[in-house]
């Protein structure tokens, strides 16, 4: 039993370096990330080019339906269509880019094509660097718009609300700042852990099933597709609710009960 478990080694935790472009090392996850970026850009570009008032192209129709559905959800989350429209481009690109990154790990040939004993492709979200980069991007946006919308004073008072003479205010404020840092960790580690854990699980089940790996991994692949969708949606939704929570002017935030519940996670 332990022999079987020790026989396989899942892909290493860190992405491997393929070659360097000047001083910048190019890793295998970056390579597939660039490929999926080009794919998403191509999809949006073709759809935007074919988009008409009376849609004739099938692709434009599907992309428009997707964007309309997601926009409906965002308008509901923000509670304000104008504000939702302002933040929508970032959110929809995060959703589609993460979705393509998650699903690309399930394609054949992703970890099996080798280049100098290093797998040439590795899906974008199974790399902690890339999920951390996306989390930094989304949280930087959150704080930028928080300062812009409620002002620097309101931004600071968001953490230290109440009388400054009261030591409890300082304690709660420091806890709030700590939870703000913790958001960065959870947002990046959740996406990375789920996708990487899923791929390692697929690998382990294929190794345990031996010759019947193709049938044993089939249900797990469906689970993976489901989880990829959920995680891409979750990343977008959490970013949206962080924006809502930090740009709301105190008092009215109590009307967004589901966002308050998600902020705790």
């Amino acid at each position: 039993m332990i022999g079987i478990l020790a026989a396989f080694t899942a892909e290493p935790l860190a992405p491997e370096k393929l070659f360097s472009l000047g001083p910048v090392p190019v890793t295998n996850s970056m390579l597939l990330g660039i490929v999926s970026l080009l794919l998403v850009c191509l999809l949006f570009g073709l759809a935007a080019k074919a988009s008409r008032v009376w849609p004739t192209s099938r692709l434009a129709f599907y992309v428009e339906s997707l964007i309309d559905a997601v926009f409906g959800m965002m308008a509901e989350t923000f509670g304000d269509e104008k504000k939702a429209r302002k933040h929508f481009p970032l959110l929809i690109s995060l959703l589609l880019f993460i979705l393509v990154g998650n699903l690309s790990g399930l394609l054949p040939g992703i970890q099996t094509i080798k280049y100098h004993d290093v797998s040439l492709f590795r899906s974008w979200t199974t790399d902690l660097n890339s999920t951390l980069a996306m989390a930094v991007l989304s949280l930087a946006t959150v704080h930028f718009y928080a300062v812009k919308d409620v002002g620097l004073r309101g931004y600071v008072r968001h953490f230290f609300s109440g009388s400054l003479r009261n030591p409890m205010t300082w304690f709660i404020g420091l806890n709030e700042i700590f939870s703000e840092i913790l958001r960065l960790v959870t947002l990046s580690l959740r996406l990375f852990g789920v996708i990487y854990g899923g791929e390692a699980l697929l690998f382990a089940i294929a190794a345990l099933a031996g010759n019947f790996g193709w049938v044993a991994t089939l249900p797990v692949i469906f689970l993976e597709i489901f989880v990829s969708l959920i995680q891409a949606y979750l990343f977008m939704m959490l970013t949206a609710s962080y924006i809502v929570m930090s740009t709301s002017h105190g008092g009215e935030s109590s009307s967004h009960a589901p966002q308050a519940a998600m902020g705790a996670a």
Partner: protein, 74 residues
């Protein structure tokens, strides 16, 4: 006293103990979804999307367990 533990025992215990919390969490979510859909079935779609978000948040912890399990080689 210091006997060598079997690594596969540790791995099995990691999965088993790590699955308790997320399993209880997903169970609580499922029971609340069923009862709230029973109370007002007309907003089933909204409840389902919210429930799926919560399931995604909860089972991330089990994914952390799998992550730890598959990245430690003994």
């Amino acid at each position: 006293m210091a006997t060598q533990l079997d690594p596969s025992l540790i791995k099995g215990l990691t999965i088993g103990l790590g699955a308790i919390g997320p399993a209880i969490g997903v169970g609580i979510i499922g029971s609340s979804v069923v009862s709230s859909v029973g109370r007002n079935p007309e907003i089933q779609g909204k409840i389902m999307t919210m429930a799926l978000i919560m399931v995604g948040l909860v089972d991330a912890y089990f994914a952390f367990v799998l992550l730890i399990l598959f990245t430690t080689h003994s």
